[in-house]
Symmetry: C2
């Protein structure tokens, strides 16, 4: 499959319930992106972004692909990269990015922030 699926990770995200008082400390969003680097499934590219405007429910990621629904997911911690790698693979394999509910990782079921239909819809 061509590399058409994009996994966007907000590198400016802090945790939802924990604001780090040290401005020099690595942001959780950046740590999550680092944990994903070089490990994304075939057909998926990792994109580091700034502020997906879901600051109260970070860390925040999005999955998008041509002809597919775009999904924004929140409440990730840097140690949850595995869940996201699994979810990205399932998203890439699903028609229009619509992972069947029973196959959807639990974190994605419970932490979908928003979704946007494909342009063709």
């Amino acid at each position: 499959m061509a590399e058409t699926v994009e996994l966007l990770v907000c590198v400016t995200c802090r945790y939802r319930d924990e604001r780090d008082p040290d401005p020099e400390a690595p942001r959780p969003g950046l740590m999550l992106a680092d944990a994903l680097e070089g490990r994304v499934p075939e057909g998926v590219v990792l994109t580091r972004t700034e502020c997906l405007s879901n600051c109260t429910r970070g860390c925040t990621v999005a999955l998008r692909a041509p002809g597919a629904w775009t999904y924004v997911y929140g409440n990730f911690a840097p140690d949850q990269a595995e869940i996201l790698l699994d979810g990205a693979a399932r998203y890439a394999a699903a028609p229009q990015g619509l992972i069947p509910w029973r196959e959807r990782p639990e974190h994605l079921r419970k932490n979908c922030i928003a979704r946007i239909p494909p342009l063709e819809a």
Copy 2:
């Protein structure tokens, strides 16, 4: 300008704090879409969608355009069509859809659910 800006309105949205017990009653999201019908600014098209997955903070809308950031906004009531029409016009006029903060309608400032960078970013 070509009609490249799309205003998506979730027609299955109910209110955040008010779930209508009558399944036959018109959904607030549908009422909002009806209030917008035929009134969108030049260069904007209205698209009715089902479930933008922001059910706890509806009514929900999204603005997108080629080369622009996609924005998801929530907590709209059907009688707030004017705010949205103003916001859509400003979005259409702003480079990359980035309405300057001071020019952004207050409801949009306070009720941005998520945003997604343009594909070119």
